[in-house]
Amino acid sequence: MSQDLRHQLVHFDETDEGVLRLRGQLSIYTVSSAQERVARLDTQKDLTIDIGDLSRIDTAGAWLLCEIEAAGEAAGNRVTLQNVTGETATLLSSVKSAMPEKQVAVKTETGFAVLLHRLGEKVSAGTTFLLELTGYLGLFFVSLGRVIRHPSEFRFTSLVAHAEDVGYRAVPIVSLMAFLIGVVLAFQGSAQLRQFGAEVFVVDLIAISILRELGILLTAIIVAGRTASAFTAAIGSMKMREEIDAMRTLGLDPAVVLFLPRILALLFMLPILGLIANIMGLFGGALMAWIELGISPSMFRIRLIEGTDVSHVFVGLIKAPVFALIIGVVGCHAGMQVKSNAESLGRMTSNAVVTAIFTVIVADALFSIFFAQVGL
C-alpha cells in the first residue's frame, strides 16, 4: 500500500473558467512536484483551486495550499479553494493557524575579527582548562588533608576496589607490553651493536632505556588509556543521572567520595605497575639477548649489576606518582565536565584519554630535562 501511496501523482487541470483542478494525491510524496508546477502559475491574477477530486491530502498538501494562498495575498490577489470537505477544512485551518512565522536566528558573522575572536576564546578556554586542572589537583590535596584529620570519612573499601581495578587487573596487559618492548629493544639493539662488535652493551641499552624511560612511560600511557577513560565514564554517568547532585544534598563531598579513592588507588598502583613493567622488560630483553646474541642469563645479570647504576631505577620510578596524579586528576575533571546528554559523555571520555596521554608525555619530557640539568 505504501508503494501505491508513493507512486500516486498529483495532476493539474486548468478548466476554461480559469479554475485549477487538482486530482490524485497531494501529500508529502507529491508536494515537491506540485510546488514546481505551482511556481509556474500566473501570479498576476486571482486564482481558484478546486480540490474536490483529490483522493488524499495530508499536512504537506495543506501546507502547499496555505503557501499558495499566502503568496497570492502578498501579491494582492484572491485565492479561493473550492469543494473543501469538512475534514480537509479542519486540516487546512489547523495547518493555517500553525504556519510558522519565520524568525531569523542571530546571524553569525564571518571575517578576520571573528577568527581572532575564536582564537582568543580558544586560548582563554585553554587557560581556564589548565586552571581548572590545577584546581582539581588542589581539591585532591585538600580532601586528602581532610581525611588525614578525620580518617573515619575515608572510604577504604572503595580504595581497595579501585586499586584492584586500576592495578591488579592491569598487570597482564602491562606485563605483556613491557616484555615485548624488551624483546624489540634487544632485537634492534643487537642488530646495530653487532656491527661494532659491542654486542654486550645491548644489556646497558635495554636496562637504561627500560628502567629510566620506557617502562614507566609506556605503563603510564596504557593506564591513561585504561583508567582515565574509566574514571571519566564512571563519574560522567553519575553526573548525567544527577547522582553527584544527590551526593551533595546528602552532605557527601564528591571530592572525598569519588576522586580521593580513585586518585589514591592510582598513586599506589602506578609505581607497582611500573616496577612490574621494568622486570618484565628486562626479562624480555634478556631472553632475546640470549637467543639472538648468546648472552647467557647469568652473564646478563653480571653485566646488568656492573654496568647499570641503581639510580636509573629511581629516576624511572620517581615519575610514577606524578603520572598517577596527572591521569587521575584529568580523568576526574573530565568526568565532572559531562553535561546531561550522552554525547558529551563520549566526547569527554576521549578528551580525557588524549589529555592524559599528552600531559604524561609533556611531564616526562620535563623530567628528562630536569634530570639532565642536575646530572642524574
Binding site: 486540516l91 489547523s94 495547518v95 510558522p100 546528554n341
Partner: protein, 269 residues
C-alpha cells in the same frame, strides 16, 4: 479521503503471549483498535503496557499470537512489515527519544528523508510546520534536544512521530513527568491533532486526567490480558477489583470531578 467509520479495525491483536524467561507478561491477550479513535491503555506498574506497545510496533518479538496493523501481519515478516508500516505509524517514546546529535528540526526531518524527490527546502518548511503544530516556538527548531525542557522534548518527539502524517501514532506515557499545566496542554494537543489529521492514537498512560480528557476508549491491562475495554462510563461500572480501585480511587474522583471540562476546552482551541 480517510475513512472514519468507527468500526474499521486498524490494529488487531490476537492471542498475544509475551514472556521474559519464566515471567509471563501477557497471555492470550486480545485487543482491537478502531480507526480514528484515541485508545488509552492503563494498568498497574509491570502489567506490560509498554511491552504491548513495543510488540505492536515490532520492537519486541512475542512468544505467540498474531498482530495485524492496517492489514499487514507485523509478525509474519518483520522486515517487510517495517517497510510498509514505517511511514504509516509514528512512535513517541517516553522522553522523546530524540537523536541528541541533531537539532530538533533535523530530528523531524529524519523520517522525511525516506521520501523520494522531496526537495530540502520543502522538507525544512514542513519540519518547521510540524514543530509549530505541536506548539513549539519557531526558534526551538535550531536547538539541540539537551537544550530543551522535558515537556518540549516530548513535543519535539511527537513532531517527529507525525513527520510523515501517519495513520496511527503510539504514545508512551505522553504526560509523565510534565507539570499539570503542561500535561493539560499536551492532552489538548493530542486531541486536536488527532481530530484535524484523522489520527488513530494508541496511548499508554497512568494519567487519569489524560484518560478523562482525551480518550474515546480505555483498555485495562491486568492479569496478563486486556481485562475490559470501553468508555470511561463502562470503566466506572466495571466490577473487577483493580479496575474499581483505579477508577474509584481518590485521585480518580478528583480527576473526574474537576470543575473545568478539559475535554471541551480541548475541542475549542
Amino acid at each position: 479521503m480517510k475513512d472514519t467509520s468507527p468500526k474499521d479495525v486498524v490494529i488487531e491483536v490476537r492471542g498475544l503471549r509475551n514472556q521474559f524467561g519464566s515471567h509471563v507478561v501477557h497471555e492470550d491477550l486480545d485487543l482491537d483498535v478502531y480507526r480514528g479513535e484515541i485508545i488509552g491503555v492503563v494498568g498497574g506498574s509491570g502489567t506490560g503496557k509498554s511491552v504491548l506497545l513495543r510488540s505492536i510496533v515490532g520492537l519486541q518479538e512475542p512468544a505467540a499470537g498474531s498482530i495485524n496493523v492496517l492489514g499487514t501481519d507485523v509478525l509474519a515478516d518483520v522486515h517487510a512489515a517495517r517497510e510498509t508500516l514505517d511511514e504509516k505509524w509514528g512512535v513517541m517514546f517516553q522522553d522523546g527519544a530524540l537523536f541528541s546529535s541533531l537539532t530538533v528540526r533535523e530530528n523531524v526531518e529524519v523520517p522525511m528523508r525516506s521520501v523520494p524527490d522531496l526537495s530540502p527546502s520543502i522538507r525544512r518548511n514542513l519540519a518547521d510546520l510540524k514543530i509549530s503544530m505541536v506548539g513549539l516556538p519557531y526558534l526551538a527548531g535550531d536547538k539541540y534536544p539537551s537544550e530543551l525542557s522535558g515537556g518540549m522534548r516530548k513535543r519535539a518527539g511527537l513532531a517527529r512521530s507525525l513527520a510523515l502524517d501517519p495513520e496511527i501514532v503510539f504514545l508512551d506515557e505522553p504526560t509523565a513527568g510534565l507539570d499539570p499545566v503542561g500535561a493539560a496542554a499536551f492532552d489538548t494537543l493530542i486531541k486536536n491533532l488527532s481530530r484535524s489529521m484523522g489520527l488513530t492514537v494508541f496511548l499508554v498512560t497512568h494519567d487519569l486526567d489524560t484518560l478523562y480528557a482525551v480518550c474515546d476508549r480505555i483498555a485495562v491491562l491486568a492479569e496478563r490480558k486486556v481485562l475490559v475495554t470501553g468508555s470511561l462510563e463502562d470503566m466506572l461500572k466495571a466490577d473487577h477489583p483493580w479496575t474499581r480501585e483505579y477508577f474509584h480511587g481518590p485521585r480518580a474522583r478528583a480527576a473526574f470531578e474537576a470543575p473545568t471540562q478539559q475535554g471541551d476546552a480541548g475541542g475549542a482551541t
